[in-house]
Each structure stands twice: as structure tokens, then as C-alpha cells.
């Protein structure tokens, strides 16, 4: 494969990586006994959503 073709492949790969949604870390708050009893869905939506740069993940 030529340098040109390899370069084009690298560019496509780099752009695809850029277009990938940012990684999201879900940091749930400490559960109380009441929350433990509530539904799983409720506990997930109450978590803090924070975007972290790739190097921190």
C-alpha cells in the first residue's frame, strides 16, 4: 500500500475517532436505604453526569 493510501486511511480513522461521542462517567451518589428500595431507573437518573477527557479514563 502506498504512502498516500495509508495516509488517507489514517485520516479516516482519526476523524472517526473524533466523531465518537465523548466518554461519559456516571458517578452515582451514595445510596440511602430509601433509595435502595426505589427503582433502578430512578437511581441512574439521579447520578452526576460528568464528561472526562480521554486521558483521565
Amino acid at each position: 500500500m502506498s504512502i498516500s493510501s495509508k495516509s488517507i486511511n489514517r485520516i479516516n480513522k482519526a476523524v472517526e475517532t473524533q466523531n465518537t461521542p465523548a466518554k461519559v462517567a456516571l458517578i452515582p451518589p451514595p445510596k440511602t436505604s430509601e433509595q435502595d428500595a426505589s427503582s433502578t431507573e430512578a437511581s441512574e437518573t439521579s447520578g452526576i453526569t460528568q464528561k472526562l477527557p480521554d486521558y483521565l479514563l
Partner: protein
């Protein structure tokens, strides 16, 4: 007064790809289409400055405190560094040879990636310009990060050669690595420059670039034309030096594509 200021930068870490020439001539073409333009020479080679001013004035300004280096070093509002060119719709902030040491100046500064962006803030708020065009040096350091962080769109001129494409791939790898610092920057497109239609390799380059999946390649490409060198010799954009030249016509066509692309992106 402009409705919104669009900030475009011309970036490629490979030297000699036509960044300054493209920046200078798109700037002039934009003004010929009725837009008000601010050019910022971010390269220590002073080539964008030379495209609009006499050599003596460029060198004198480079040694003074009225250039981009001083503005960045002292973290000033860039409004105070704007100079008028001989063209009514085009202003410029000139560079300095000291830009070669700007990395050292940036190193100790807080939020060093955003010093240029902060310096442009008041200019952008005043909506005085339709377009701000920033020329960059052939590097990928902290200063180019500043340019990328200050810009809405990026245009990459690329020479039709294997090493030109290799350099382009390196640039995209870099952009991928820094995406979290410049999340709003959009790649407006890749522009082929110095295209020599006598060489078969040009066709190979165009064919290769057609394989790009998510990156726009401008339909207009800039062919080799001695009018460009003559215009540089005379310190003028090629459209002013020789309006009928092939490169002047091509740069005007490229500029119209740029405007169209920017307008499209605005709608999204």
C-alpha cells in the same frame, strides 16, 4: 457591521503547503465580495504581513511593540494592535520574528491555550469584521493550539505530494488527540495547492483524497502559477496584482466555496 464574525485558521504542520498564500488571497477575495476582513499573521516567517505591507515596514513592526508577539506576551486586547492595510476592507495584525519564542512565553501562563481567544474577545463582540483569518506556523505546539482554540473553522492547504498527504495524516492524528481542548472547532475543508497539471501524480492525489470519508475537499484547487510569486514580489495579493491570472480566478472561486461552506455550517 457584520452580523457575526467567523474565525478561520489556516493550519498544516508541513511547511510550504501554501497556508500564508491561501490566507492572504482568500482574505483579499473576501473583501472583493464585500466582506470586512481582519488578517492575523501568526507565523514568525512574516509572509502574510509581506503580502500586504512593504518589507521595511514589516521588519520595523516586527521589532516594535505593535505586533502579535507583544500582544500575546502581555495578554493584551488585540484591538490595539490592528493596522490598516492599503485596502479599505482589510485590516491586519502583523507578526514578529520573535514569534519563534512564543512557546516560552506561553509556558508559564494560566490557561495558556486560550490567550489568543481572550485577546480577540472584544473584537468579536463588536462584530466589526465578517471574517477573521489567522495564518499559522508549520508546527503543532502550544501556539497553534491557541490558534485552533480561537477559531471556529479550520482550512488545511495541502500540497499534492506523498509527503503532503503524510503530513496531513499527522495533522489529523494531532486534531484527534486535542479534540477535548477544541470541541467546537470544525474542519471546513482541505484545499489542494501548487497543483501541477502536467504531473500524473496530481490525479493520484485527487483520487486518494476522494477516499476521505468525513472530510471535505474543496472542489477548487490552486494550480502552479508564476503570478503568485510575482504578486509576492510586489507585496500584493494576486487578485490585486493581476486580476485576470489563473490563480486570482481560482482563489476567488475557492473563496466562494469557503463562504458557502461557512453558511452551510451555520444552518446546521
Amino acid at each position: 457591521m457584520a452580523s457575526q464574525t467567523h474565525i478561520l485558521c489556516f493550519v498544516n504542520n508541513k511547511g510550504g503547503s501554501g497556508k500564508s498564500t491561501t490566507c492572504a488571497n482568500i482574505g483579499y477575495s473576501l473583501s472583493s465580495l464585500g466582506y470586512k476582513v481582519l488578517l492575523i499573521d501568526g507565523d514568525m516567517q512574516l509572509n502574510l504581513s509581506l503580502a500586504y505591507f512593504e518589507e521595511e515596514f514589516v521588519l520595523e513592526t516586527a521589532k516594535s511593540e505593535k505586533n502579535l508577539y507583544a500582544a500575546i506576551k502581555y495578554q493584551k486586547d488585540l484591538s490595539d494592535y490592528i493596522l490598516s492595510t492599503r485596502y479599505p476592507n482589510i485590516d491586519m495584525i502583523l507578526s514578529s520574528t520573535l514569534m519563534s519564542s512564543i512557546e516560552y512565553e506561553l509556558f508559564t501562563k494560566w490557561q495558556r491555550e486560550y490567550i489568543l481567544k481572550n485577546g480577540l474577545k472584544k473584537i468579536v463582540e463588536r462584530n466589526e469584521y465578517d471574517y477573521i483569518l489567522i495564518d499559522s506556523p508549520p508546527t503543532l505546539g502550544g501556539w497553534v493550539m491557541n490558534i485552533l482554540c480561537a477559531s471556529h473553522y479550520m482550512i488545511t492547504p495541502v500540497e499534492a505530494s506523498p509527503w503532503g498527504l503524510f503530513g496531513l495524516a499527522n495533522l489529523f492524528d494531532f486534531l484527534s488527540d486535542i479534540k477535548y481542548v477544541t470541541p467546537d472547532l470544525q474542519m471546513l475543508g482541505v484545499c489542494i495547492t501548487k497543483a501541477d497539471t502536467r504531473k500524473n501524480y496530481l490525479k493520484q492525489t485527487i483520487t486518494a483524497l476522494e477516499e476521505l470519508k468525513h472530510t471535505y475537499v474543496f472542489e477548487t484547487y490552486i494550480k502552479v502559477d508564476s503570478s503568485i510569486e510575482w504578486s509576492q514580489e510586489n507585496g500584493r495579493p494576486v487578485m490585486d496584482y493581476k486580476k485576470s491570472s489563473r490563480s486570482a480566478i481560482e482563489y476567488l472561486s475557492l473563496t466562494k466555496e469557503v463562504v458557502s461552506r461557512v453558511n452551510q455550517q451555520q444552518k446546521h
